[in-house]
């Protein structure tokens, strides 16, 4: 009886892990798209609205969805606290803190962090250039992520179940 229960438990867990991985893979292009949207909005705020960065960040955050919202909020909030953080520090901290909540990978993180070291410290054209570059890179990542999704989403779903079954068989 206990054996059966254990087997069922392992099976369930394996299936869930597989589904979660699949969901993560499906989530990644979506979040990348959301990040691109947020950045292009930020570009508009900077390029045409001349909005100061903290305000531009909060405004962008308002229109974005979680987890990107939290990231942008965090970056904006870090700016005016008493520690005297520079923008890059605040941005780095917020990105690193919120990154685990996203389905995105190191590549994207590197792009976003690189962007953080250039935002706010140069003139408008330069800012727009940097944002454009980041957007372009994110676009490439998104394409790759989409392709990956179509390939790996199903794989993870079946792989989770299969591995669970294998474990059960080996343990019986």
């Amino acid at each position: 009886m206990i054996k059966l229960l254990g087997a069922a438990l392992i099976l369930f867990a394996g299936t869930m892990i597989g589904f979660q991985q699949a969901a993560r893979i499906a989530e990644r292009p979506r979040q990348l798209r959301a990040l691109s949207h947020a950045l292009s909005r930020l570009e508009t705020e900077i390029g045409y609205g001349h909005t100061p960065l903290p305000e531009a960040l909060t405004r962008t955050a308002d229109t974005a969805e979680e987890p990107i919202r939290g990231m942008l909020r965090g970056a904006a909030a870090g700016l005016w606290n008493a520690d005297g953080l520079s923008f890059r520090e605040s941005w780095d901290e917020a990105v690193r803190k919120h990154w685990s909540a996203t389905a995105m990978k190191k590549n994207e993180q590197a792009i976003v962090l690189r962007l953080g070291s250039t935002l706010g410290i140069s003139d408008k054209d330069d800012q727009k250039k940097h944002l454009k570059l980041a957007l372009l890179q994110l676009q490439a990542e998104e394409d790759a992520a989409r392709e990956e999704q179509s390939r790996y989403e199903k794989m993870w779903k079946s792989l989770g179940v299969l591995i669970a079954v294998l474990i059960v068989i080996l343990m019986v």
């Binding site: 390939r151 790996y152 794989m155 079946s158 792989l159 299969l162 294998l166 068989i169 080996l170 019986v172």
Partner: protein, 67 residues
């Protein structure tokens, strides 16, 4: 007779599951992973078979008086 019939099912099950994982991985373009999975499954099954073989030989030795 300490190995029971279920071992046969076990081996068959492992075989089928490994085959499926292999085909799934192969389809997704991870040939090397698929290969490793197969090798590991094979080793596990081989281990079971060899253990049984050892048992058989011991048994035959004692029965047919090879000393």
């Amino acid at each position: 007779m300490n190995i029971d019939v279920s071992a046969i099912f076990q081996i068959a099950g492992i075989g089928i599951i490994i085959a499926m994982i292999h085909s799934v991985l192969k389809q997704m373009g991870k040939e090397d992973m698929a290969h490793w999975v197969t090798v590991i499954g094979f080793v596990v099954v081989l281990f079971m078979v060899v253990r049984l073989l050892n048992e058989l030989f011991q048994e035959i030795k004692t029965i047919f008086l090879f000393q």
